[in-house]
């Protein structure tokens, strides 16, 4: 999986928000608010390019004190919501 072209993480009034700015995302017409963990995952996914639920869960475990099971659940929930809203492919 990867993040679709044209989506950008912005700091809006102190919060993390995904906006569509690129040519392929210009008609997104929505803003997606992320909590700190989701924003961290987004940046990781952006840096990695191609990612899987497992690769992001592993990265999460290395950075934060979470159990592998908890990391897997959190990442899966986050990715599911990104898939629903259409910002990854």
């Amino acid at each position: 999986m990867k993040i679709k072209k044209g989506f950008v993480l912005r700091q809006v009034c102190g919060e993390n928000v995904i906006v569509g700015e690129g040519l392929d995302a210009i008609n997104f017409g929505r803003m997606l608010c992320l909590n700190e963990t989701a924003a961290w995952l987004w940046k990781k996914a952006q840096d990695t390019g191609d990612f899987t639920v497992e690769s992001l869960a592993n990265a999460l475990c290395e950075e934060f004190e979470v159990t592998p099971e908890q990391a897997l659940t959190d990442v899966k929930d986050t990715i599911d919501s990104w898939t629903d809203i259409g910002v990854i492919e």
Binding site: V12, C13, E15, E21, I26
Partner: protein
């Protein structure tokens, strides 16, 4: 005879190099004329861009995106050498092609002979919006009124009644005045305050006033069968402001600059959402709530 004239819009200096024959089409710019003769570089505002007006057509370019608005098409693209291009069409007929340098400091408008006035205005608006985007400046699609030394902007989709609401202020609120009816500019100053300016572009209303005022509030309008106003904060305020600002957001340099301006406005300027009827009570409710 070709000459270069200068104008200041929102304290930015713009140059237009064109033949005299285009002068009668530029009456709306007269209140913004700026005489730089005898002034040194330090005595005048820095030059934001120069537009050169010429006749003719351009050879092919690569299309990126096209936008349709009230019978007018704007096609954005780039030349083989990666210079931004904007083609303006009315009812399918091309009025002109604007070719810019990637930093939007220079633009050349190639006129076809159709709708020359509209092509000139659009070219200057585009260059202004793009070149100023990294300087805390934004060109809005809004109506702006003044009251007691402050400026207020009304935003909303086309057809929502921005001009109607502004005219309701003028009729019902003594002391209010129209600053601009379609495209005011805003600058966020280094100290975080914001100023709203009249511009030479004002849609169908000939309101070309070289005026400015500290920005006191921004109101997003929606049509409703009642009048009600609420304060928007944080992301809600940001989301209200962004769609009303002109820009080419797939150019990341421009998007970054506009984001900084939008974020500063959403943080420091009161933003409101007014559900309203086109009546005097809407104007009074709005005025009572947003002016302090």
């Amino acid at each position: 005879m070709t000459e270069t004239r200068y104008y200041t819009v929102a304290e930015h200096l713009l140059g237009v190099k064109a033949d005299d024959i285009f002068l009668p089409l530029m009456q709306n710019y007269e209140p913004f004329r700026h005489d730089i003769s005898g002034k040194t570089d330090v005595e005048r505002p820095p030059l934001l861009f120069t537009l050169t007006v010429t006749e003719g057509r351009i050879t092919d370019y690569i299309e990126e995106y096209s936008q349709e608005d009230e019978g007018q098409d704007t096609i954005c693209g780039h030349t083989a050498g990666n210079d931004p291009v904007f083609e303006f069409r009315w009812d399918g007929k091309t009025a002109g092609w604007l070719v810019c340098t990637p930093d939007y400091r220079q633009g050349t408008l190639h006129l076809s002979g159709h709708d020359t006035k509209a092509a000139l205005d659009n070219s200057l608006m585009i260059l202004f919006a793009m070149a100023s985007s990294c300087t805390g400046t934004a060109l809005f699609h809004a109506a702006a009124v003044s009251l007691d030394g402050r400026g207020y902007m009304f935003l909303g989709k086309s057809g929502t009644g921005k001009s109607t609401h502004a005219s309701l202020w003028l009729k019902n609120i003594p002391g209010s005045g129209l600053m601009n009816d379609d495209n005011p500019a805003v600058r966020v100053k280094p100290d975080g305050t914001a100023v709203v300016y009249g511009t030479p572009w004002s849609g169908k209303t000939p309101c070309y006033r070289n005026v400015s005022a500290p920005l006191g509030g921004i109101v997003l309008l929606s049509q409703a069968p009642y009048n009600s106003i609420t304060r928007l904060k944080g992301i809600g305020a940001y989301a209200a402001v962004v769609p009303s600002i002109s820009g080419k957001r797939w150019d990341s340099r421009i998007a970054d600059g506009l984001h900084d301006t939008e974020n500063a406005l959403a943080t420091s300027i009161p933003v409101w959402h007014l559900d309203c009827l086109p009546d005097a009570e809407a104007a009074r409710l709005c005025k009572e709530t947003i002016t302090v």
